[in-house]
C-alpha cells in the first residue's frame, strides 16, 4: 500500500515536472494575444481621430494615425501589463530598455501628458527627435536604440502629421527614467535590449 503511494507520488511529480516543462515550452513568447490578431488589436487600440473638432487637424491626424500605427511605434513605446502590452495605455512608453555604447535608453512616453509625456515639448522639438534623434538638451539617441534614421526619411509633412496625431492622444501619466550616459554594454560589439515584458517606467 505504502509502496503504491510512493510510486504514485513519484509519478505525479514526474508528470508535474514534464507538464510544467511543456507549459514553458509551448507558452507564447511575449504576448498571449494570438499573433494573427495583433494587427487588429493594434489598429483597435490606436485612438480614433473622430473626436478632433477642427476638420483640417482631423484630416492631418488621420494621416498621422496611419503612420504611427504602421510604423510600429507601439513595438517599443507600449506600456506592458502582466499579459503583454497594455493597449489601453497606448504609447505611454516603458516597454524596452536598451543598452548601447552611448548609454541606457528606456522607450519614452509619447502621450501629451505635461509632466511625464510630450505635453511640454514644442512641435519643433518633437520633429527634431523624429528627424535627427536630437533632444532639446543636445543628446543624440543612437539610431540603433531608436530608429530615427528610418523616420528621418518621412517627408516634413508626414512628420507634421505624426506630431499632430500624438498631440491628440489621451494623456497618460507614466514617468520614464532619464537616459543614463556611458558605455552600457556587456558584450562588445552588440546592442542589448531588455524586453522581459515588464514595465521599465517608474511606478
Amino acid at each position: 500500500m505504502r509502496r503504491i503511494l510512493k510510486w504514485a507520488l513519484l509519478l505525479i511529480a514526474i508528470v508535474a515536472v514534464c507538464g510544467f516543462g511543456a507549459f514553458l515550452y509551448f507558452i507564447p513568447p511575449f504576448f498571449t494575444t494570438p499573433p494573427e490578431t495583433f494587427g487588429k488589436a493594434l489598429a483597435d487600440a490606436a485612438p480614433e481621430v473622430s473626436g478632433i473638432t477642427d476638420p483640417a487637424e482631423r484630416a492631418i491626424a488621420a494621416r498621422g494615425r496611419y503612420l504611427v500605427m504602421t510604423t510600429g511605434c507601439i513595438g517599443c513605446h507600449a506600456t506592458n501589463g502582466s499579459q503583454g502590452p497594455d493597449l489601453t495605455k497606448y504609447l505611454a512608453g516603458g516597454a524596452l530598455k536598451i543598452h548601447t555604447p552611448q548609454g541606457i535608453f528606456v522607450s519614452r512616453n509619447l502621450t501629451p501628458d505635461p509632466e511625464t509625456g510630450i505635453g511640454r515639448r514644442t512641435d519643433d522639438e518633437l520633429k527634431r527627435v523624429l528627424r535627427s534623434g536630437t533632444f532639446a538638451d543636445g543628446h543624440v539617441v543612437p539610431g540603433t536604440a531608436m530608429p530615427w534614421p528610418a523616420l528621418s526619411n518621412w517627408s516634413e509633412e508626414d512628420r507634421h502629421a505624426v506630431v499632430v496625431y500624438l498631440r491628440h492622444l489621451p494623456p497618460i501619466a507614466h514617468r520614464i527614467p532619464a537616459p543614463v550616459p556611458g558605455n552600457a554594454i556587456t558584450i562588445p560589439g552588440t546592442i542589448e535590449q531588455d524586453y522581459a515584458g515588464k514595465d521599465y517606467g517608474i511606478k
Binding site: G21, L24, Y25, I27, P28, P29, F30, F31, P35, E36, F38, G39, A41, L42, A43, P55, A56, R58, A59, I60, R63, M69, T70, T71, G72, C73, I74, G75, K97, R128, R131, S132, G133, T134, A136, D137, G138, V140, P142, G143, T144, W148, P149, A150, L151, S152, N153, W154, E156, E157, H160, G189, T190, I191, E192, Q193, D194, Y195, A196, K198
Partner: protein, 429 residues
C-alpha cells in the same frame, strides 16, 4: 644716455606685451581645438563619424548623406564656386540646420561659443581650408519679385535647362535625369522646387540666388555664374520662390483631403517609388542589412540580411535577405508569400517568426496598396547573394530554463544585436 635707456625700456615693454598677447592668442587657438572636438564627439559622431568622414552609424540610412568634412566640399556657401565656405556659412548651417535633411539646427541647444569652436574643429579636418581661402561673393542688391521678373525667371529656367533635373514643373515632371549621386557615389534627390521648406540652405530669394551663383559642391548642381547674368539669376530666384506650393499645415480640410488623395493616386501610379519610401521609413533597412563594429552598414549589403540577433532564450535569428536574389533572397518568393511574412509572421516554409523584433502586427495594418508597393519595390532591389542560415534554437534545457527565468522570475534577458554578416556571401554563385 637717459633717452637710450628709455627707448630700450619702451621696446622691451612693447616686446613683452606683444609676446604675451601672441602667447595668449596661440593658447586660445590651441584650447579652441580640443574644445571643438569635445563638442563634435558629443553631438556629431552619430552621423558624421568619429573622423568626420560622414560615415557615422546612422549615415547609411539617410538621404542626403551626412557631410564628409575631410574633402572640403560644402553645398551651402556664400563663396565663389570652387572655394571653401566662410566661417559664417558654416556657423549658419550648424545654427540653422539643413532643412529637408537630418541635420538639426543647433541654435539654442549649443552655446554660441560651442558652435564657433566646433566649426573651427570641422575646418581643421580638411587641409584645404589652409590652402584655399574662401572668396566671398559680392552679393548685389537683388531684384524685387514682380510678375515681370518671375516671367523672365521662367525663361531663364528654360534657357539653363533646369527642368532636366528638376522637371518642367519644378517637381520632376519630364525630368531627364531622376537618379543622382553625389561625389561620394551616394544617392541624392533633386530638390522639389515647390517645397521650399526642404531647401537645405533656406528659401529666401537671396538663399536661392546664392545656390545658383555658388553651385552646390559635391553634387550635380553646378554654379551658373558663367552661364547667366546677375539679373537673370535674381529673376530665376524670384521664379523659384513663386513655385512654392502650400504645405499641409497651411491647408484647409478640403485641400488636405485632395492633397492626400493626390498622393495616393501618385503612389498607385508609381508603386516602386512608394515602396522604396515605405521600406526606408519603416526601418526594414536597419535590421535587414549587416553592420560593422562601428554599427555602420557593410558596403554593398543593403537589405542583404545576415545581421545576427540573439534573442534570449529563443535562439539566434539572423535577418533575412530581402534582395531579389533568386537563390538566397526573395527572388523566388511570390508576392503573396512576401505579404504573408510581413503581415502574419509566417515564413515561406510555413514556420513562424517571433512576434518581436519584426513587428508584423503593425505591418499588417498597412493598406493593400502599400503592401503591393513594398513587394513591387523589393523586386527591384539589386540581387546580392548572401545565404542566411535558418534560426537556431538553444539546447532544450537552456531554452526551458531561460523561459522560466523570463516568465516566472521576471529576469531581464537581453536581445543582442551582433555586428558582422551571419550569412555566406556569394554562396550560391
Amino acid at each position: 644716455m637717459k633717452d637710450r635707456i628709455r627707448n630700450y625700456a619702451c621696446v622691451c615693454t612693447l616686446a613683452a606685451v606683444l609676446t604675451g598677447g601672441l602667447l595668449w592668442i596661440s593658447r586660445a587657438a590651441v584650447e579652441a581645438q580640443p574644445r571643438g572636438k569635445a563638442v563634435y564627439d558629443a553631438h556629431c559622431v552619430e552621423c558624421h563619424g568619429p573622423a568626420g568622414k560622414g560615415d557615422g552609424a546612422s549615415a547609411a540610412y539617410l538621404v542626403p548623406r551626412p557631410r564628409d568634412f575631410t574633402t572640403g566640399k560644402y553645398k551651402i556657401r556664400s563663396t565663389e564656386s570652387g572655394t571653401l565656405p566662410s566661417d559664417d556659412d558654416l556657423i549658419g548651417s550648424v545654427r540653422r540646420g539643413l532643412y529637408g535633411s537630418a541635420m538639426p539646427g543647433w541654435d539654442r541647444i549649443l552655446a554660441d561659443s560651442d558652435i564657433i569652436d566646433v566649426v573651427q574643429y570641422l575646418k581643421s579636418l580638411s587641409p584645404q581650408f589652409a590652402s584655399n581661402p574662401p572668396k566671398s561673393i559680392a552679393i548685389s542688391d537683388g531684384l524685387p519679385s514682380s510678375p515681370a521678373s518671375i516671367a523672365r525667371g521662367q525663361q531663364v529656367y528654360d534657357k539653363l535647362q533646369c527642368g532636366k533635373c528638376h522637371g518642367s514643373d519644378g517637381r520632376g515632371a519630364g525630368a531627364v535625369a531622376t537618379a543622382f549621386e553625389d561625389d561620394w557615389r551616394m544617392p541624392l534627390r533633386a530638390a522639389d522646387l515647390t517645397e521650399p521648406w526642404t531647401f537645405h540652405g533656406g528659401a529666401t530669394s537671396r538663399d536661392i540666388y546664392l545656390r545658383f551663383r555658388a553651385g552646390m559642391a559635391g553634387t550635380p548642381m553646378p554654379s551658373f555664374a558663367d552661364a547667366a547674368s546677375d539679373a537673370e539669376m535674381w529673376d530665376l530666384a524670384n521664379y523659384v520662390v513663386s513655385l512654392a506650393r502650400k504645405p499641409v499645415w497651411s491647408m484647409t480640410a478640403d485641400e488636405i483631403r485632395q492633397f492626400y488623395a493626390g498622393q495616393q493616386a501618385q503612389a498607385k501610379a508609381d508603386p516602386v517609388k512608394r515602396g522604396a519610401q515605405l521600406v526606408d521609413t519603416l526601418g526594414c533597412v536597419m535590421c535587414h542589412s549587416p553592420v560593422d563594429e562601428g554599427k555602420r552598414m557593410l558596403p554593398g549589403m543593403r537589405l542583404a540580411g545576415g545581421l545576427l540577433m540573439r534573442i534570449n532564450p529563443f535562439g539566434d535569428f539572423p535577418t533575412g535577405n530581402l534582395t531579389s536574389d533568386q537563390a538566397t533572397g526573395l527572388g523566388n518568393w511570390t508576392g503573396d508569400e512576401i505579404k504573408r511574412a510581413i503581415t502574419k509572421g509566417i515564413r515561406r516554409d510555413g514556420s513562424r517568426l517571433l512576434p518581436f523584433p519584426m513587428d508584423y502586427g503593425s505591418l499588417s495594418t498597412l493598406t493593400a496598396d502599400d503592401l503591393d508597393a513594398i513587394v513591387a519595390y523589393l523586386r527591384t532591389v539589386p540581387a546580392v547573394s548572401n545565404k542566411v542560415p535558418p534560426p537556431s534554437r538553444p539546447f532544450l534545457p537552456v531554452y526551458l530554463w531561460g523561459k522560466f527565468r523570463m516568465l516566472i522570475l521576471g529576469a531581464d534577458l537581453p536581445m543582442e544585436f551582433y555586428h558582422g554578416n551571419a550569412g555566406t556571401k556569394g554562396a550560391s554563385q
